[in-house]
């Protein structure tokens, strides 16, 4: 299986998103680079909106990812309550 990954700007708004990813994706790898944080996983990675919302104390909309996203690798599926990246192979 191929790895999916997500790179976010290393700023305050990303902190809770990364925490939520770690919480909900057991085998995720986190890499801190200059000004960005890279998160990768085998085959699939899910960001659950309720998890992020709990961490920041307000309702978080997955579309807010736009503000901190740098790049990603994989197919995208999104809905009101999640943002998922995956490969089919």
């Amino acid at each position: 299986m191929s790895k999916v990954f997500l790179a976010l700007q290393a700023i305050e708004e990303s902190r809770a998103i990364i925490e939520a990813i770690i919480k909900d994706n057991p085998d995720v790898e986190v890499e801190n680079q200059t000004a960005m944080t890279k998160v990768s996983a085998e085959g699939k990675l899910v960001i659950n909106a309720p998890t992020v919302s709990d961490l920041i104390g307000r309702e978080w909309d997955p579309q807010e990812l736009q503000l901190v996203l740098i790049t990603l690798a994989g197919n995208v599926d999104e809905d009101y309550d999640h943002f998922t990246i995956y490969w089919d192979n």
Binding site: S2, A35, I70, T71, V76, Y80, N89
Partner: protein, 506 residues
């Protein structure tokens, strides 16, 4: 019996809601659909059901305005702060600025073309889903060209080599390389444009363009460009998913599409690679602090990362582009050969070049253990001697350009194991002879000769008397390149003089 008096409104899931917000078209009856959409059938691509399109990102306009508005607020705050504090003083060295000149003159105009191009296909595809996705990209690309112009506006006030970017892009010899690349995509049909730009450029090759420039900026203290880069990247994530979705959609619609798409992938990976030659020399030679070599970038972003992508596409019968082996073979040579070309032709280019210093040459030895010391260090050392004698070498000849990619034919037969022999291919069409840098460029020509015979080759044009005259000063005047300001070596340039003043040197 209890009555539930609380009104329960049916809730729409995001996928359905987005469909309601975007599937707004209809089959016309007062005009023939083929007249309303005259461009989407001539390429031989077969679409049975446009609703097979899966929307990658589901942003309605209100969300788009909201989030993009927020992003731009942050970006411009930093651009303003950079200008206010004269942030350009904090870069590692003013040589770095030539990388930015290359960007504004070579890349930013392509963003403008992408904007017009995606608007074109957004109008000309029959399906609603792709039309919405494409127009979002069209307006994103307008964002990119404008934010780039704004970010680099401050540099333009102090450094030469930025001021006439629009004029240069349409005329100067090496800028016809990116210009012809995008003109080629723009004049093709909508499906080819989508594969050329949406997939090959924005997905397969994007990391080889943006990461080098952005990490180069980060490593050399250029906060403004780093910030622009990050800000643009989230748009790029949407573009990448569009490109990926587009190719899967085409391949799934009909098996007849597979060989057509494969042909485009092969062609456009090669044409894109040729343009990226400029990036390779930027990475290896123009950054005082280099985060990564071209070879490393190719190995990571193409040879490693793209494998996952092509594995995903294997099931449709798509294979890795046929030029991959050539690019891989050339990775130890590309940046050196192209830097040598620009070093020697520095009189005619509105950005500076210079000899790599010892530190840089040792870095290059380390990154290119099989080739640098053997083939290229000796040349630089020779030119170094000439420079010390006050005879810094400037070529007074104009190079032959490849008919397809328009790069000077100063590359060598690396893949054939003869790296000191100039690579040259030829073919005849309508009893006229044409010249190419490689088999791949020749193949592209032979596939569509009527198209590529039209190329506006800058060197041919100069010799035909269409560029202001037959002498270099006349041509430079026609180019609006200021002699002794925009061109020549960094050493002795007004940029260098100014930099030394700022640093209190000399």
């Amino acid at each position: 019996m209890t009555m539930n008096t609380q009104k329960r409104k049916k809730r729409l899931n995001m996928k359905d809601k987005y469909k309601h917000m975007t599937r707004l078209g209809w089959d016309t009856t007062y005009q023939d659909m083929d007249d309303v959409f005259p461009k989407d059938k001539f390429e031989g691509i077969v679409i049975h059901d446009w609703e097979g399109w899966e929307d990658p990102f589901r942003m309605t306009m209100d969300s788009y305005w909201k989030y993009q508005g927020e992003k731009d607020k942050k970006l411009y705050a930093i651009i303003d702060a950079f200008a206010q504090n004269n942030g350009q003083k904090n870069i590692t060295d003013a040589r770095y600025v030539s990388a930015l000149k290359l960007f504004l003159t070579g890349v930013s105009p392509l963003e403008y073309q992408a904007h017009r191009g995606f608007a074109d296909i957004a109008r000309n595809f029959r399906g609603d889903g792709p039309r919405v996705a494409c127009q979002m990209q069209a307006i994103d690309e307008l964002r990119h060209v404008q934010t780039q112009v704004h970010t680099l506006s401050h540099y333009n006030k102090y450094f030469n080599g930025f001021s006439e970017f629009a004029h240069w892009h349409d005329r100067v010899w090496y800028l016809s390389v990116p210009k012809s690349f995008f003109d080629d995509a723009r004049t093709a049909g909508p499906f080819e444009f989508m594969i050329a730009i949406g997939f090959s450029f924005e997905y397969v090759l994007t990391n080889l363009l943006f990461v080098p420039f952005m990490s180069g900026a980060a490593f050399n203290g250029d906060m403004a460009t780093v910030t622009f880069g990050f800000s643009a990247q989230s748009d790029e994530a949407r573009h990448m998913t569009l490109g990926l979705q587009a190719i899967k959609f085409l391949l799934e619609q009909d098996p007849a599409n597979v060989p057509i798409v494969q042909g485009w992938i092969d062609k456009w990976t090669w044409r894109g690679y040729k343009v990226l030659g400029l990036v390779s020399m930027m990475m290896d030679y123009m950054l005082p602090e280099s985060p990564q070599s071209w070879k490393e970038a190719w190995e990571l972003y193409f040879e490693e990362n793209t494998i996952a992508l092509f594995k995903d596409l294997e099931r449709y019968g798509i294979t890795v582009p046929d030029c991959a082996a050539t690019v891989s073979a050339e990775k130890d040579h590309l940046s050196h050969q192209i830097w040598m070309t620009f070093y020697t032709h520095a009189a005619a280019a509105p950005f500076h070049t210079w000899l790599p210093d010892e530190k840089k040459m040792d870095w290059l030895s380390e990154k290119y253990p099989d080739t640098f010391d053997k083939y290229y260090r000796p040349v630089y050392e020779h030119w170094g001697k000439l420079e010390k004698e006050g005879k810094r070498y400037y070529s007074e000849m104009l190079p032959q350009l490849c008919q397809t990619c328009q790069i000077p034919m100063l590359y060598t037969e690396v893949e054939a194991g003869k790296p000191t022999q100039i690579a040259h291919r030829q073919t005849k069409f309508n009893s006229e002879r044409f010249h190419f840098c490689s088999d791949h460029c020749k193949d592209i020509f032979e596939n569509e000769p009527e198209k590529y015979v039209q190329s506006w080759l800058p060197v041919h044009q100069i010799f035909q008397g269409n560029c202001g005259g037959s002498t270099l000063p006349e041509v430079l005047k026609w180019y609006k390149v200021e002699f002794g300001q925009d061109n020549l070596d960094y050493v002795g340039s007004p940029d260098q003089k100014m930099w030394k003043e700022w640093k209190g040197e000399e």
